[in-house]
């Protein structure tokens, strides 16, 4: 007993905590923010400043200890006895999330969203949600999956309702919270089904247990139909929770309301950070059930074996993993179909619903939904590819990472512009954006660039993301992915119509007479230019991003 405890302690202190540094720094910042009001002297410090410093430190600690050059050789390591996993995707996602948070804090400072008095609450909630998202991105156990989703969601509910005395905000928050609670409940039920059926909640072990079940045999023999049904149900239920976080159809209803009710900054946070974390989680779950890692790949499984109930019983047959490839093919087909259909529906619905919007935040909400659809497509391809070609599978993961990194800048810029304009003219109506090219040329040009990038028109960065995702679909070459490719292509053309309506109003329409004079300072223009510039530059020098994403994805597969 004593030796187990010692082992646990040494593992936690020696291995887990150093690799967990960014999250720890976030926790520390949260504590400082909460205490700042109580301590004399500290209460004068702007909470935005504390949050900024804390998240910058956290960002700086995300770099892998061995440097980025050897990122592709990084061996995945399990933290905290298998609860979390530390690998390239974790590193990449943390960087994306924390970079976003840093930029978001600067944005909120510029838009004066959080004044020094209640700034603490706001930043504590933002950093708390980010903490949850980091956990989502590195989850390796169904418990941490659920924990991460909840930790990311609960502060988000509050953030949406932060604006006082505004009915829409309260309504949006309530809707979001009720929806979220329902989705989590269903997800938890799915988790319990899986854990009950397979005797484990450790993600890699789930895959191995599934492989051991010999699903093809059961299906052909029509035996244990109850188990099969329960597995299918569990998969559906867990995907409900994920779909809620991804705002995938048909669990997207909260998204437009929450975006419209909340502030633009919060909407941007939900649209980028929350989505990035949810996609990472989707990749984790997909990988776990479609491509279980053998004991050799994760060096800490042995430790898990001793200390936790969850165990990988592969000590006897090392050949198991090799053989397990075909037993998983029904799982792969199921997951690929599930994600593929959801992706196609999400993408198409998001684009079609965006057509009729008159409020820019609602429009961007549907655009977010559509982009979630595009980003889920490579994951559907991934589910199929894990069985055939690990190299291509890691390409699929890399394409999602590339897309996410570009998506960060696109949506951050879009919501920043909406926030600046919203506070300057007190309206989010698209029609009020008329003639912006005259009254705020820098912001208008940035907005056009962002919109073109969202459509995916080269030479803007959005094209690179779409190209990477489309390439994976073409590469996989199955009827499902080729259909998805076609749907994605048609959707790209569809999306032009509504994005371009905004661009048209901004550039071609006269200024509406109802709108007062628009005064924007230098800083909003500077900030917008700063976050838009990457969209122009990334495709000129893409190697840095693509190489980093590929290196990050390389370690994920055996």
């Amino acid at each position: 007993m004593q030796s187990i405890v010692d082992h646990l302690v040494s593992d936690t202190i020696a291995t887990s905590l150093p690799l967990y540094a960014p999250e720890l720094w976030l926790c520390a910042t949260i504590v400082v923010l909460l205490l700042a009001k109580l301590i004399r002297g500290l209460d004068r410090v702007d909470p935005a400043f504390i949050a900024l410093v804390g998240s910058l430190i956290a960002l700086s600690t995300t770099a892998p200890a061995s440097g980025f050059a050897s990122l592709s050789e990084l061996q995945p390591a399990e933290l905290f006895t298998g609860m979390l996993v530390y690998d390239g995707v974790t590193i990449f996602l943390r960087m994306v999330l924390l970079l976003f948070v840093v930029l978001l804090i600067v944005l909120t400072k510029l838009t004066r969203l959080a004044d020094p008095v209640d700034g603490q609450d706001f930043y504590v909630l933002v950093l708390g949600a980010t903490l949850g998202m980091c956990i989502m991105a590195s989850a390796n156990h169904l418990m941490t999956v659920f924990l991460g989703v909840e930790m990311a969601s609960v502060p988000s509910y509050v953030l949406v309702g932060m604006i006082r005395n505004r009915r829409a905000a309260g309504e949006a928050a309530l809707k979001y919270a009720v929806f979220g609670a329902g989705a989590s409940g269903v997800m938890l039920y799915g988790i319990s089904l899986i854990a009950g059926l397979l005797g484990t909640a450790h993600l890699p072990t789930i895959g191995l247990e599934l492989a051991r079940l010999d699903l093809p045999g059961l299906m052909t023999a029509s035996e244990q139909l109850g188990v099969l049904t329960a597995l299918v149900l569990a998969g559906l239920m867990i995907s409900v929770g994920l779909a809620f976080k991804l705002s995938a159809v048909p669990f997207h209803f909260w998204c437009p309301d929450a975006f419209e009710g909340g502030t633009a900054e919060v909407a941007g946070f939900l649209s980028v950070a929350s989505k990035a974390a949810a996609l990472a989680l989707l990749i984790r779950v997909t990988m776990a059930v479609c491509s279980p890692v053998g004991e050799a790949a994760i060096d800490r499984v042995a430790l898990v074996d001793q200390t936790v109930v969850v165990a990988v019983d592969s000590s006897a047959q090392p050949a198991q993993t090799v053989e397990s490839r075909s037993p998983l093919s029904p799982v792969r087909t199921y997951v690929a179909m599930l994600i593929g259909i959801a992706a196609a529906a999400t993408c198409t619905f998001g684009n079609l619903a965006a057509f009729g919007q008159t409020n820019i935040k609602r429009l961007l909400a549907y655009s977010t939904i559509a982009h979630a659809g595009y980003m889920m497509m490579p994951v559907a391809a991934l589910a199929g590819l894990t069985g055939s070609d690990p190299m291509d599978a890691s390409q699929a993961v890399a394409s999602v990472l590339i897309y996410l990194a570009i998506y960060l800048f696109m949506n951050l810029a879009a919501f920043a512009i909406v926030a600046f304009l919203g506070s300057a003219m007190g309206s989010d109506n698209i029609d009020d954006y008329g003639g912006l090219i005259k009254s705020a040329p820098a912001i208008a040009v940035s907005l056009v660039i962002v919109l073109a990038s969202l459509v995916g028109i080269p030479p803007l960065a959005g094209f690179l993301g779409k190209f990477a995702a489309f390439a994976v679909l073409a590469k996989a070459g199955t009827p499902l992915t080729l259909t998805l490719l076609l749907i994605a292509g048609v959707n790209t053309v569809l999306s032009l119509v509504y994005y371009w309506r905004v661009a048209k109003i901004v550039c071609l329409r006269p200024e509406p007479t109802t709108r007062g004079p628009l005064t924007l300072g230098v800083w909003p223009a500077a900030y917008t230019t700063l976050v838009t510039a990457p969209l122009v530059l990334i495709l000129l020098f893409p190697a840095g991003l693509t190489n980093l994403a590929e290196a990050a994805a390389a370690g994920l597969l055996p």
Binding site: K475, G489, K504, C507, L508, P542, A543, E550
Partner: protein, 582 residues
């Protein structure tokens, strides 16, 4: 900066306008309209000189005439994860188009002097557009080609949408949507080709010829996984010499799908019936200089894509679908001509005449019969010549319409007349240019149309007769137009007093166009010497392949049974001359 280096020179040619655009956007002070226009014009002149300089070997690299192969190939790694290179090169097919682009752009900038609204933005977008256009003709990496192809979209949208006529917003978004739709299809085809390609099938010598660097060659030959490529020249070799694009996809080969997708993408740009409907709107609503560029250059990109990408990469599909391609070309000709006859808007008439004239280009590319490669060569050369000739005559026609519109602010054909007596110099130039568009012998339009019709006769007499008959329709609408606008006793529209003689600026734009139209009409070798070797080589490379398509041990009659009905008659008529089959 060493101008003797291919990559520096060609990059300068492409990006000089874009860099100048950025400089103008950042540094040009407000209210400096005239200096900005002059600077922009200077940039287009320098770009033109750079492109013509290649013919003379001054000031940098030299383009040697009479050479069929790709010259000045140069490549730099761009996105290593997808084997994407910044690969440029120039040959007899692209060289005339590049010069045409820089020339028309320069004249169009001269024609932009009347633009008063947001001059700085106009000039910036105009220069960005030029970068995209030149780049498309020089890019030899499919990805780079695609990116540059799309680069034109945004500037063009705004140039039409902001500076256009009354229905500009509608026209601009229609143009945007059509082109984006075509591009998405092209993107899908590009991915299909990329992932089915494997350059390991090519030997080291070929790899070096297609512009793959020596150090990469070794890595490729020793690799044990498929080495995909976006290199257009490599894809051409793979399409012609290997079976890599013959994989099965929903009952057809990859090649077939790629050809169809690419072809749709390109004929949207050409444009061919039934995907032409964006063109009349875009051309009519665009301001005069942009109409000149649209008709003079943008349409040529579709044709360029067909000869550079569609046929060489997907020869078998091209051969199978030759009849469809030719029929589309002829239908466009006839439809465009009839539609032009029915117009009362001067500019719309010219726009439909473009649809009709570009039909010759499609027909010329399509007349691929096994009977005799010389006829196909003739058709291809004719089509290429027609592209250049149409670039000159249509830009001229749009400019001529613009000159009138600037004065009287209407384009109703029934409200003109008697312009000859009021603007004699202008009318003389205009009649010359319209005759060039008509295809009068001795002017540039004749050569291309004549070649194409001649070659079509050998492919299908029916198509040839129809296409020859279109000349009558063309003559009808052009002569009728000339009669309604320039002849007649008196002008019977509004703003009669505004019909002042042509200004010297306008003269300096129109005169070179007419001069070139005459020059190329009487001395076609001026273009053909540069162009013909490369075009003919494309035909020579592809034509022998036709014998191997679909035969695979089957007898010719069995093969005929599999062909579309249109080809069947043709193939049967071909069988008596087996000696011509390689």
């Amino acid at each position: 900066m060493n101008l003797d280096s291919s990559i520096v020179y060609l990059s300068l040619l492409i990006f000089l306008p874009a860099v100048s655009a950025v400089a103008i956007a950042l540094f040009a002070p407000k209210d400096s309209d005239d200096p900005v226009k002059q600077a922009t014009l200077a940039v287009t002149v320098v770009t033109f000189l750079l492109s013509v300089g290649m013919l003379l070997g001054w000031p940098g690299i030299e383009f040697s005439a009479g050479e069929a192969a790709m010259q000045h190939l140069c490549s730099v790694e761009w996105i290593p994860s997808f084997n994407i290179h910044y690969l440029l090169g120039i040959d007899g097919i692209s060289m005339p188009l590049v010069v045409l682009t820089t020339f028309i752009t320069m004249l169009a900038m001269g024609a932009s002097w009347n633009i008063q609204k947001h001059v700085k933005a106009y000039c910036v977008l105009f220069l960005l557009l030029e970068t995209g256009m030149i780049g498309v003709f020089l890019a030899l990496d499919f990805f780079l080609f695609y990116v540059l192809w799309e680069v034109m979209l945004l500037p063009m949208y705004f140039l039409i949408g902001v500076w256009g006529g009354p229905r500009r917003e509608y026209a601009a978004i229609k143009f945007f949507l059509y082109t984006l739709f075509g591009s998405v299809l092209m993107l899908v085809a590009l991915l299909i080709l990329y992932f089915s390609s494997d350059v390991r099938a090519l030997d080291a010598k070929t790899l070096a010829n297609v512009g793959i660097a020596d150090d990469r060659v070794e890595a490729i030959t020793s690799a044990d996984t498929p080495q995909h490529t976006f290199n257009i020249l490599a894809l051409q070799q793979l399409g012609q010499t290997t079976e890599q694009f013959k994989g099965d996809l929903a009952g057809k080969t990859y090649e077939w799908w790629a050809f169809v997708l690419l072809f749709i993408g390109f004929i949207i740009k050409v444009p061919s019936v039934p995907l032409h409907t964006w063109l009349p709107d875009a051309h009519v609503e665009a301001p005069t200089p942009i109409s000149m560029i649209l008709a003079g250059i943008l349409l040529k990109m579709g044709g360029y894509g067909i000869i550079r990408i569609c046929y060489p990469i997907c020869p078998e599909a091209g051969y199978d679908l030759a009849f469809v391609v030719c029929t589309l070309g002829v239908v466009s000709m006839v439809y465009g001509a009839f539609a032009a006859l029915a117009q009362t808007d001067f500019k719309r008439l010219v726009a439909y005449s473009s649809v009709s004239h570009m039909g010759y280009v499609v027909l010329g590319f399509g007349v691929w019969s096994t009977l005799n490669v010389d006829y196909w060569k003739l058709g291809m050369n004719g089509a290429m010549y027609q592209m250049i000739a149409h670039g000159i005559s249509s830009a001229g026609m749009f400019f001529m319409v613009g000159v009138l519109y600037d004065r009287v602010h209407h384009r109703d054909l029934n409200q003109f007349g008697g312009v000859f007596s009021r603007m004699p110099v202008y009318s003389g130039l205009a009649v010359g240019i319209f005759f060039a568009g008509l295809g009068l012998p001795g002017l540039c339009g004749f050569i291309g149309e004549f070649f194409v019709v001649l070659s079509a006769w050998n492919y299908s007499m029916v198509l040839a007769i129809i296409s020859a008959a279109v000349v009558i329709l063309t003559a009808a609408y052009i002569l009728w137009t000339l009669q309604r606008v320039y002849l007649g006793a008196s002008y019977n529209g509004p703003h009669e007093e505004a019909l002042t003689p042509i200004t010297s600026r306008e003269f300096r734009i129109a005169a070179p166009l007419l001069a070139l139209a005459v020059f190329f009409g009487v001395y076609p070798r001026a273009i053909l010497d540069y162009m013909e070797p490369s075009v003919s080589r494309t035909a020579d490379d592809l034509a022998p392949l036709a014998a191997s398509f679909g035969i695979d041990g089957a007898s010719p009659t069995e093969k005929v049974a599999d062909m579309p009905r249109g080809d069947r008659k043709l193939a049967i008529s071909n069988t008596p001359s087996p000696a011509l089959r390689p």
